[in-house]
Symmetry: C2
Subunit: 348 residues, 2 copies
Amino acid sequence: MMKKYTIKNIAELAGVSKGTVDRVIHKRGKVSALALEKVTAVLNEIDYKPNLLARSLKNTKDYHICVVLPDYTKDAFWLPCYEGIVAAVNEFASFGVFIEPFFFHPNDVHSFVEVNKKVLELAPDAVLLAPLFYKETVGIINKYALKNIIVSKFNNQLEIENTKNFVGQDLFKSGRIAAGLLQMIIKKNATIDIIHVDEDFNNSIHMQEKEKGFRDYFDEIENSDYKIVTHNSKQSDLANNLDSIFSDSFTSDAIFVTTSKVYEVAEFIKSKNLNNVKLIGYDLLEENIQYLKENVIDFLIHQNPKKQVYLGLNYLVDFFLFNKEIPSKSLLPIDIITSENIDTYLEN
Amino acid sequence: MMKKYTIKNIAELAGVSKGTVDRVIHKRGKVSALALEKVTAVLNEIDYKPNLLARSLKNTKDYHICVVLPDYTKDAFWLPCYEGIVAAVNEFASFGVFIEPFFFHPNDVHSFVEVNKKVLELAPDAVLLAPLFYKETVGIINKYALKNIIVSKFNNQLEIENTKNFVGQDLFKSGRIAAGLLQMIIKKNATIDIIHVDEDFNNSIHMQEKEKGFRDYFDEIENSDYKIVTHNSKQSDLANNLDSIFSDSFTSDAIFVTTSKVYEVAEFIKSKNLNNVKLIGYDLLEENIQYLKENVIDFLIHQNPKKQVYLGLNYLVDFFLFNKEIPSKSLLPIDIITSENIDTYLEN
DNA sequence: GTGAAAGCGCTAACAG
DNA sequence: CTGTTAGCGCTTTCAC
């Protein structure tokens, strides 16, 4: 067990003052060659770890972080993100960090732009945002950059300059995972339908990436002939589309829904008693959990939105308070959820 | 956005001194009714959050935590635990917390006792331990308690008095999860073998709990007749036992291995070309990962030992530094791992 | 180029 | 019972 050193100790050992030690440690210059040498000699001898609490205390500055995300009353997918924010607000308030959520309408570019304008005027220290709309995000991010506001993204991995980091999942892989799971529980060369359910198509890059991964998996299987058909459907047209998927001339063995709207498909399957149709989709919405427990949905893939937001905020806080580096990208594990392990995730 | 208040602010608002405010906040008494009233009035008005950095800085005490766990060179299961320790050591050293690992031999009660004796003499502030041996653990924990050393447990949930908390998983549930996964990929009323592979039987409560959950799941399925046979096998006898499981007169459709030694079974299955036998087991050991990727193992259940240790340590640190409460029990999510999502867990 | 000193917010010791 | 004061470790300002 080694002794703990403070700046004062080092100053004494090197025969200089605390101020000089500090200048050396932070490379602030204005140090004579001799002093520099004496201090570095000591530093090399011992294992000095600055006391991060003290360092941060000195900096009595308050930090302000805004989170820009879709309104969870419009799309329940975003509810856990809000919970992540609430958790972070409580956790970090005691350290002088204020976190504030700002909501936009998930299908309305205009509200996205407006809300970002508002945030821009507030000039917080950092913004964590769900960049649903590519073009508009590019514009707004540049404005943030001009004001030296740090921007982090979560959930949607748009390749954009000037952002500090991204927290989310690898969507291609998540598509492959869905495919791997389905393959295990369906017969060889089955007929599979991919359904992209979304009100608008702002989510389309997301969904396409998942589809690519899904198809990639089945393409790799040798001597096989799975029939995979893709459908784009607005939520409102879904019933019609499903009717035709299960019409006399067609039928489906399994369905992969690329969004959290899988409960809509589950409802249809349950009502039509299509008990043999395998179903896989995304996210732990109330309705999805219900259908999972009833085994209408076989698997859910957990995108962990709460953790995404919390982690994104945590990175920023550690950066501000303790100068910790932020990784440019953190891809979270992709959790497979069944009716059996769901509870262990909900307890959290 | 609300203003941030300090003790000084409150003192001014209440017309008393900082000392008095501190006494009120910490209920240290020795405060006149009038002063008490004035201060509480102010506290009710505003939302005061003490600056935890400052509070902790004042307390210049160093904390010492010992982790007692099996030697990972004897059983690779414990390697990630060690990694969790290393991560925590680096993370928390800057806050004046020293964390030190102590290893015992996983099959040797004696070494467990000896190592705990050594730790006891060091008299750290807290001990995080993997309580492999029930009886001996009870004895040692009482000795820790006498010295006011906080004890936390991880991995093995022995019901023991005088411990601060437990981090681990619900083993019964993990057995059910294994069952649910197998059921999806085997034919109805298949023959299933449960194999408890372990050198000694110190792990037996662990394994039995998993078996209970596993059987519970199949018992619940109506109108079914799955044939489930349990085998206890030392690692050294495993080949013989497997030979008899797959002898002419018997055969198995699926195997559930209740420990991380599933790779031993995988090796057998691969060498005998038993391609149709489904296999599920525990933990992300190198060998297990290899067989998972080759699809010899169908599923692994991830017990997240690294996270268990890190979280256990994190609780202790937050308790020491910031007085955060420690939950008496935290059950981690039970992750389902396939050849497709394994990489997303390894990147971490 | 360097040291001395002040102060971040909180706690604890001490004098009154 | 209460106010003042010193000091945790670090940073920053200000004389010299």
